[in-house]
Amino acid sequence: MHSRVTNLAAFLGFGAILLALPHTLSFSQQEILVFLTINVLVVASYRLLTLTGEWSLGHVVIMGVGAYASALLSKRLGIYVPASMLLGAVTAAMVALALSFPLFRMKGFYFLIGSFAAGEIIRLLWKRFREPFGGPKGIKKIDPMPDFDIGIYAFDFFEPISYYYFALAVVGVSLWVMWRIERSPVGLTFHAVHWQDKLAEASGVNVRAYRTLAFVLASGFAGLSGALLAHYIGTINPNSFDVEQMVFVLTWTIVGGTATFYGPILGCVVLTILNEIVLREAGFEQMRPLIYGLILILSVLFMPKGLESLVRGALSWRNAGKKKVGETEATE
């Protein structure tokens, strides 16, 4: 009971910090906070994809599918933007479902290369077909989120702070859903498929269906994050979703570590803060790809379990300390 109360208190406190955070930041920092919030959803969805053991190089393109779909649906068909975002997510999930048929005949390397190729095909289609994708220049003047008022707060989406709250809500709900899935028997089955697909299949698990399920779900959330991005920045083009972006996602995920839910999120937050504070302030922003590349290599080499392993180490050390305290109490 006690731990429930502390958990709730911690949750509320954390929520309050997230709500108060933008008020302590400059305008440009608020903008970065919006991107960070969206990227948290990207990496969390990427981890969902990796739960069954396959690493994709097409995730950012799938995110782009959500962005393009939502942008086009709102611009061409006049669909209300929040609805078009959801439809963007659904479109990304559907495209992933279609791709899963060829891709899940492959594993490991082949899956990696196959997903890369599939992503490139999609990007080339955007480039090639000016109608409706806008060709290499992409889509401009994407409809912004319409302002609305929920009584206690009036959203004015010219302000990054409003978009931040909106994105925070969307991302928060998405993370909660992913968390629920992972903690459920479905999530356990994902893990089983990852660690020993033979035994899972012998236990009656349709391994292919579960791989596809994780892929489609993850792609849906990636599409949602793409839609969030599109309606915030207002322009997207094929290069917004290129390999370089994929490298950022990979780096955040690997630096954070995929063993836990919060690992990739941690990686994304830490590296973004590092990027903004250290690189931007020191005037090294041009070197971002260089530094990301270095970090990626160093973390694969020296921190294969990611940042979260450091956190876990610290936690277990703390728990061990606690236990000791408890023991001395008992003996007294």
């Binding site: 028997p185 089955t189 089983a192 033979k198 012998a202 698990v205």
Partner: protein, 256 residues
């Protein structure tokens, strides 16, 4: 007489030039403990792999209660009630012992993602957990439920492999060398459990090199060598069968 639950009919499995199973036929009676023996490389594991759907046979077929199951995928075979264990301890090493057993309950209590998200699958989860705990209990693993499967000693890992299989409440289990890595005492206990299991109506097809266990447990034994059927009969008949003695000569002399 009850019809055989499993019919292996003229089964052939080739890998490139190598014929691992060569026109093998035998039947497994319902509710029997049926032994499958043979020297190393005879094709026993391959037979399991074909029956369980891991491989598609090159020729012949496998029937379950008269229905052809060869060529089905492994999970489809499992869903028809045939569940296997693996020769080399194949477990979810990174998951806890209880979670391993929970995967075994997958077919009886299939997860539903929408129910899980809405939080309305509590009864299902409880039932799965009860079933998993029951399976662990049966193999004396209850005390280890929270351990990581990969951290267990070898004998316990073998037992957990069987617990995962039996959590599925199969009609037929295929056990591939379940007693390796167990000491004689553990083997004795496992043999009792096998008999208990058979008495609940489960049919057991057993591959094992421990001749003492095989002779003590089996109602019927099939012996194969170089992929072919060598002999079939009761433990008594197999023990004294000249071809079997010949095949094992130099290996396990105590057969004779």
């Amino acid at each position: 007489m009850a019809p055989p639950v499993l019919e292996i009919d003229n089964l052939t499995m080739r890998f490139g030039g190598l014929t691992a199973i060569d026109r093998l036929s035998f039947n497994v009676e319902r509710g029997a403990i049926h032994g499958l023996i043979g020297p190393n490389g005879a094709g026993k594991t391959t037979t399991f792999n074909v029956v369980s759907g891991f491989y598609k046979p090159t020729g012949g077929e496998v029937r379950l209660r008269g229905e052809t199951i060869s060529g089905l995928r492994m999970y489809e075979v499992a869903r028809r009630g045939v569940v296997r264990t693996f020769q080399h301890s194949t477990l979810f090493a990174e998951l806890s012992v209880l979670e391993n057993a929970l995967i075994g309950t997958h077919m009886s209590f299939p997860p539903n993602i929408f129910a899980a998200m809405a939080g309305v699958d509590k009864a299902n989860r409880r039932a799965a957990r009860a079933r998993a705990e029951e399976a662990l209990d049966f193999f004396g693993l209850s005390g280890l439920a929270e351990e990581l499967a990969g951290d267990l000693p070898h004998g316990h890992q073998r037992a957990l492999g069987m617990a995962v299989a039996l959590a599925a409440r199969p009609d037929v289990v295929l056990l591939d060398e379940p007693f390796t890595g167990m000491n004689p005492e553990e083997t004795g206990r496992m043999m009792e459990l096998m008999v208990k299991l058979r008495n609940t109506g489960v049919t057991i097809l057993l591959v094992e090199h421990d001749m003492h266990a095989i002779m003590g447990l089996c109602d019927r034994i099939t012996c194969m060598s170089f992929g072919r059927l060598l002999a079939e009969g009761s433990p008594q008949e197999i023990r004294h069968h000249p071809d079997v003695i010949e095949a094992y000569l130099g290996g396990a002399r105590h057969v004779a």
